[in-house]
Structures are given as structure tokens and as C-alpha cells.
């Protein structure tokens, strides 16, 4: 069997005899120096762990983000896209290949960290799965983000590389045990309650790091398919949304078990998860008006296969959000007598009423149309930034003013609330959404 050409090319670029010798030599000197100076095996192990994360996560995310940017800036990306390599071959060849030297140095650190302190050996999870999962997750997210930025703008800047790297680092921080430990929300000592199962925090983190790393690789594969001009339907994204809903739900499951008269509360985690993912999807994707025209044409012509390949990811996510909201309405709101769940979740106060749920869907629709409206304009380069600022101002300072001043109807016009009555809660966002749709259609006809 021949070696993946993309991986082999990266090996040629990454490794030279001098670099091959340099990594073990430099790291060996560092570990030996720490050992001599401190005389403490634990310090050596700690140094090795630190170096592992610096190399594989900090440097690795940079290399992963750069792997695509370098091709674009070096004008070799079209040549790659013209190759006969499949999306999977290209994805893993690039992800592992571009970071082959990073892994070479990182694995030396990992080995040193695991053997430096024989008196305190790490577990399989803590010593292998967690660090490898963290590194793979960070690198995968950084590379996926880099590909995503490329689809939004076909040129790679240092800023976009840095942004992709930062996203990779954030993903590692969010998924790693260190952040989980900051909150004792779901932790009972070192045990996590997930769907009623009490799982050791380390096992839980290791498992989900591995799972998120898998999704990171899936994201690269799907984006690479799109880059290589394969028709890509949104099923993987829908599966990811479902995974996230199931994942988040697990943390609330135990707490919600006893509250049978608050059945709608069971959907609250799913509602919030799909809400976050709608905005995540719409801001991460390219919103090229031409693509939307093709989508409209494909739908008009009844070309379902092409329409599915063109459908923006926010659309099925919004569908899921709407389905969850409708299900919440159907399940009904609990009475105010339902006590707090656990110590942190005051269900009656935060569980939205049916008008608020409808308003929520209308506000999200308005926001989506606003984002498209700005992107369909003559200067779409900064449209997402402008949209983000407008939305932050609307939901932040403006909403704050409305709440503070108690201006009738203003609150219902700015965020989902039924304090001014159910009718206002629904009609005001409906009117805003309608105006935005009208503006969008005008721009659509001119664009």
C-alpha cells in the first residue's frame, strides 16, 4: 500500500536530518537540566506536560490553521484541489502531515511526562487519552476553522490564521477537564452526573475530548469535500446538533428527573443548545448571495439533490430550534409552585411561556434575515461584524435601557418577553421580522 501523497509531501517539508535530530536533542537537554536543577522527578514530569501542551496545542493549532493558509497564499491550493485525492485522504494527510513535526516533538514530551515520575504514574485517561485528545481536538478545530474562513473569503490573512488558532485553543479549553473543574455545577467531588450516571470526571472529560476531536475531524472532512467540489449534504451538521443536544441534556438529566410537572423544562437544554448553534452556523458560513440564488433556483426546479447541497446550515438548525420550541409549547408551562431544581436552576422563572417561545423564534428569524440582508449588500466583507455589533447592541445596552426605564412595549420590541402582554410579545417581533424580510427581498432583487 502506498503512503498518502499529501502526508508524504508534508513529511518532506517538515522533516530534514537536522530537524530530526534537533527535537530529541533540545528536549533531552531541557529535561536533563530541569532534573539536575530541581532534583525532583515530579518537576520534570510537570515540565514535560507543559511542553507537551505548548508544542501540540499552542504550536499545533497554529500549524493546523496555517496548513490551509500556506497553500492559499503559496498559490498551491488550486493544484491540490485539482488532484485526484479524495476528501478523506486530503483531510488526514494535511491534518497529521502538517503537524507531523509537532507530533514528533509532542510525543517525546508525552513519553517523558509518563515515565519521568515512576512513583506517581498517570492513568490511561490522564496520561494518554486526555493529552492526545486535547491536541487532536485543538488542531482539528483550528484547521476546520481555517477551511471555514476560506469558504467565507478566498484569501488567507494572518488575522484569519490567528482567529482559527484561537478557536482551536478555545475548543480545547472548553472541552478539557481544567475548565470543567472551574465550576462545581455538575461535579460532585470528582464525579460527574450525566444522565444519572455518576462518572469519574477524568473519564468523562477523556471520553468527550475524544468525541469532540472526532467531530473536529468530521468538520474538516465535510469542509474539504466542499472545497473539492463534492456535493455535500448537511446531515453531518444535523447529527452534530443532535449530539450536542444529547450531550448537554445529560448534565441536566439527573436534576430534572424528579420534576414530572415541569416536562417542558426537559427541553430547555435542547432549546438553548439549538439556539446557540443557529447563531454559530449563520456566522460561520459564507452567505454569498449567488449561492442563495442557486438554492432558490434549485428549489423552484425541484432539484432536491442540489438544493440539499446548497442549503445553509442555519436552516436545518432553525428547524430543530422551532421543533423544540413547538414541543415545549405542547408540553405546557409548569405552575409557579414548582420549586427550584437543584441549587441553580429556578425553572418557573426561566422557563419561557408559549408567547415568549414564539417571540424567540421570530427574533431569531429577524436576526437571521438581518445577517443575510447585510451580507447581500454591496460591501459584504464586514457584514458579519456589523451584524454581530448590531445584535449585541440590541440585546445588550438597548435591552438594558428598556428594562431600566420600563418603557411600555419597548421591551417586547427588543427581546423575547411577555411582560407587556402576549399579543405584544408576538406582534412586535413579527413586525420586525416582516420589515426585515421586505428589506431583504428588495436587496435580493437588486443584487
Amino acid at each position: 500500500m502506498s503512503l498518502n501523497p499529501e502526508f508524504r509531501r508534508n513529511l518532506w517539508l517538515q522533516f530534514s536530518p537536522q530537524r530530526l535530530v534537533a527535537a530529541p536533542l533540545v528536549l533531552g537537554v531541557v529535561f536533563y537540566a530541569v532534573s539536575v536543577v530541581s532534583g525532583d522527578a515530579e518537576v520534570v514530569a510537570s515540565t514535560a506536560w507543559t511542553l507537551f501542551y505548548v508544542v501540540t496545542v499552542f504550536w499545533g493549532t497554529r500549524r493546523a490553521a496555517d496548513s490551509v493558509a500556506e497553500e492559499v497564499n503559496g498559490r498551491t491550493w488550486d493544484g491540490q484541489r485539482m488532484s485526484a485525492l479524495g476528501a478523506w485522504t486530503m483531510s488526514w494527510g494535511k491534518l497529521v502531515g502538517a503537524n507531523s513535526y509537532v507530533w514528533y516533538a509532542g510525543l517525546i514530551c508525552l513519553a517523558a511526562a509518563n515515565v519521568a515520575d515512576p512513583g506517581n504514574p498517570p492513568t490511561l485517561q490522564g496520561g494518554v487519552i486526555l493529552p492526545l485528545g486535547s491536541a487532536l481536538l485543538g488542531q482539528a478545530v483550528a484547521m476546520a476553522a481555517s477551511l471555514m474562513f476560506l469558504r467565507k473569503r478566498p484569501a488567507a490573512s494572518r488575522l484569519s490564521v490567528t482567529a482559527a488558532q484561537v478557536l482551536g485553543l478555545i475548543a480545547v479549553l472548553l472541552a478539557s477537564s481544567e475548565l470543567s473543574r472551574l465550576s462545581d455545577l455538575w461535579l460532585h467531588g470528582e464525579v460527574v452526573d450525566w444522565y444519572g450516571h455518576r462518572i469519574a470526571a477524568e473519564d468523562m472529560t477523556a471520553a468527550f475530548l475524544a468525541a469532540f476531536a472526532f467531530w473536529g475531524v468530521v468538520a474538516i472532512y465535510r469542509l474539504m469535500r466542499a472545497e473539492l467540489q463534492f456535493r455535500t449534504w448537511p446531515w453531518a451538521w444535523v447529527a452534530f446538533v443532535a449530539f450536542m443536544m444529547i450531550y448537554v441534556q445529560g448534565f441536566f438529566h439527573g436534576a430534572l428527573q424528579g420534576w414530572t410537572d415541569a416536562r417542558a423544562a426537559w427541553l430547555l437544554p435542547a432549546l438553548l443548545t439549538s439556539l446557540v448553534l443557529v447563531y454559530g452556523a449563520v456566522f460561520s458560513e459564507s452567505k454569498d448571495v449567488v449561492r442563495y440564488r442557486w438554492l432558490a433556483r434549485s428549489l423552484t426546479e425541484g432539484n432536491v439533490a442540489r438544493a440539499l447541497a446548497l442549503v445553509p446550515l442555519w436552516l436545518p438548525t432553525y428547524g430543530i430550534l422551532a421543533a423544540v420550541a413547538v414541543a415545549s409549547i405542547a408540553l405546557g408551562r409548569p405552575s409557579l409552585s414548582v420549586p427550584y431544581i437543584g441549587e441553580f436552576l429556578p425553572i418557573p422563572q426561566i422557563l419561557p411561556s408559549p408567547p415568549v417561545l414564539v417571540a424567540l423564534l421570530l427574533f431569531v428569524a429577524r436576526d437571521l434575515v438581518l445577517i443575510l440582508f447585510l451580507n447581500f449588500g454591496e460591501r459584504p466583507r464586514r457584514a458579519d461584524l456589523a451584524a454581530a455589533i448590531y445584535l449585541l447592541v440590541a440585546y445588550g445596552p438597548l435591552a438594558g435601557i428598556a428594562v431600566t426605564l420600563h418603557v411600555p412595549l419597548l421591551r417586547a420590541a427588543l427581546f423575547p418577553t411577555d411582560v407587556d402582554g402576549a399579543l405584544a410579545a408576538v406582534l412586535l417581533p413579527l413586525a420586525e421580522a416582516a420589515v426585515m424580510v421586505w428589506l431583504l427581498l428588495r436587496r435580493w432583487r437588486r443584487a
Binding site: S2, P5, E6, R8, R9, W12, L13, G74, R75, T76, W77, D78, G79, Q80, R81, M82, S83, A84, L85, G86, L228, Q229, F230, D288, V289, V290, R293, W294, R297, F376, E378, P380, A447
Partner: protein, 304 residues
């Protein structure tokens, strides 16, 4: 060999290709010409399945390139206006990578690399890094990368851009060699004089539409005759003006330009002029360069 049907490509606020259709015969070299912004690069990228059109179909040997881009890429070579070389790789590594990436089995790669490097006269540079090559050699390496897997179709976008005259002449030789080897080549360029050296067909694009697509054989001869006298003579207008087989007459001093209904009657006309005492210094079919033909076609296309 190559069939393009109803290709339409949109950018926001701009239709780059508008219902473009044509077909290209095998073992030909088609010069893709047109003014800036005519859609040449977009057309090449759509044909290479690097960009997906809003509508239309491109087939190579019956294979729809947008439905099966990977299979199409095995049969195609593409050279972008930027050569796209890995500067840190040697010539051998560049070609070995590209051959493998195009699906050439490892056992077959070496002879193919040897053949392509010999054809492009870079066999003596195999150990040299791409980044250290001169522009002319980089261009040869880029072409070698595009054809190392022996594609049946090669698309070249501005391959001669920035090359010196000697390198351009070498390029013409290379392309003729590839055509003789059975490859179908489409070359986009602004330099029409250079295209004339090796192209068999010309495809003119204007504002995203096909303005003209024809064989170049015959392009150099227009339908006009040029008659040159030793000195201006007022009888010239009256003699030519009264003949029924002459049309489109234009006289500028001692030179007359006109269409002759039957080119076989040239000797009759010449005899009449000489017998009338006109001092004929030259008489021939008007010769046009590819550039003249292109400019004439574009003027005609833009005429209201």
C-alpha cells in the same frame, strides 16, 4: 472530447459567463482570448471543476466534470496563472507528489517523471529546489506538474506571462509536442502573437459570451484584396468602381482595399489594370495576424 453546454456563472452583481457553449476536438490547441474581465479564467476554472457554475455542463470524454470532479481531474491537467509550486521541494519531489496525487501508481510514476522532465528539458534539475529555479524553469516545472499523469486535456491559464522571448519560443515548442502526443490543450493568454505560433483554434470570449470559435487555418487570410500602385492614380477608382465583381472598395492614396467576388479572377483584374497603364507595384490577399483577426472580430461584436 470537451463539450461545454449552456455554462452560466455568476458573481455577486455580475454574470461572468452567460450561456457559454462550444465543443473542442481532440489533439487541438485552442487559444482562449478576450479582453480583461471577459470570463476566461472563470471559464477555465469551471472547466477544471474548480468552480461550480450556476447552470450548464462540462464534459470531458463524456464525463461530467462537476458530477465526478475527482475522476475528471485524473484526465485533466491545469496550470493556473500562478504556477503553484512548493518552493521547498525538489523538482523530483514536486513531480512525484503530483503524480501520486493524480492517482498514478508508484510503480508507474518514475518512467512518467523521466519522460516529462526530458520533454520539458528539466531532467538535469531533479535535485534542485523549485524555489531556486529561474522563472522560465519554474514555468516548465509547473507544466510538467500539470501533465505528469498524461492527462488527455490540459488547461493553461496565461502560461507565458512574464517569460522572456526565448522561454516563450520554448513554450510553443512544448505545446506543439503535447498536441502531437494527442493531448487537447486550451491556452488562455493576452499575447496573441505567441498563441499564433501553436494554436489550431481560437475561442474569443467577450462579456461572458462566446464571440467566435473557429479554426485558425484561414484566419490569416481575410476576404479583402490589397492593391498597391507605385504612385496615386485617379483612374484606379474608376476602373475598380465600375467592375461588378469588386465590392467594399476603399482607396487611400496609392493603396486600394476591396473584396473580389471570385479570387480565381485575380489575374483578369491584374491584366486589365496593367493594360490601362496603371503602375501596379503589389497585388495580394490581405494578410491578417491573429491579433488583427481578433480585433476585427471584437469590433464587429461591439458594433451596434
Amino acid at each position: 472530447m470537451i463539450s461545454v453546454e449552456g455554462l452560466t456563472f455568476d458573481f455577486p452583481g455580475l454574470r461572468a459567463l452567460d450561456d457559454v457553449s462550444f465543443s473542442i476536438e481532440p489533439a487541438t490547441i485552442t487559444a482562449l482570448v478576450g479582453p480583461n474581465g471577459a470570463g476566461k479564467t472563470t471559464l477555465l476554472r469551471s472547466m477544471a471543476a474548480l468552480a461550480t457554475p450556476a447552470q450548464g455542463r462540462v464534459t470531458v470524454d463524456g464525463l461530467d466534470v462537476h458530477r465526478a470532479p475527482r475522476e475528471a481531474h485524473r484526465r485533466m491537467g491545469y496550470l493556473s496563472d500562478f504556477y503553484g509550486l512548493y518552493d521547498e521541494l525538489t523538482v523530483r519531489q514536486c513531480l512525484a507528489y503530483r503524480a501520486a496525487a493524480q492517482g498514478v501508481p508508484a510503480t508507474e510514476a518514475e518512467p512518467l517523471i523521466a519522460d516529462v522532465t526530458a520533454r520539458l528539458a528539466i531532467a538535469d534539475r531533479m535535485a534542485q529546489k523549485a524555489g531556486t529555479l529561474s522563472r522560465g524553469l519554474r514555468q516548465r516545472l509547473a507544466i510538467a506538474q500539470a501533465i505528469v499523469h498524461r492527462p488527455s486535456v490540459v488547461l493553461l491559464d496565461e502560461p507565458a506571462s512574464g517569460l522572456d522571448p526565448e522561454a516563450r519560443s520554448g513554450l510553443a515548442q512544448v505545446l506543439r509536442g503535447l498536441r502531437d502526443a494527442g493531448m487537447t490543450i486550451i491556452v488562455s493568454s493576452h499575447i496573441l502573437a505567441e498563441l499564433e505560433d501553436y494554436s489550431t483554434h481560437m475561442l474569443i470570449l467577450g462579456e461572458g459570451r462566446v464571440v467566435e470559435h473557429r479554426a485558425i487555418a484561414g484566419v490569416s487570410e481575410s476576404q479583402f484584396m490589397i492593391l498597391r500602385l507605385a504612385r496615386p492614380d485617379p483612374r484606379l477608382a474608376s476602373i475598380l468602381g465600375t467592375r461588378h465583381d469588386v465590392s467594399g472598395l476603399e482607396i487611400d492614396g496609392p493603396v486600394a482595399r476591396f473584396k473580389l467576388a471570385d479570387l480565381g479572377l485575380r489575374h483578369d483584374l491584374l491584366r486589365d489594370l496593367v493594360q490601362a497603364g496603371l503602375e501596379v507595384a503589389g497585388f495580394d490577399v490581405e494578410r491578417q495576424s491573429l491579433q488583427d483577426a481578433y480585433i476585427a472580430t471584437m469590433r464587429q461584436d461591439r458594433a451596434p
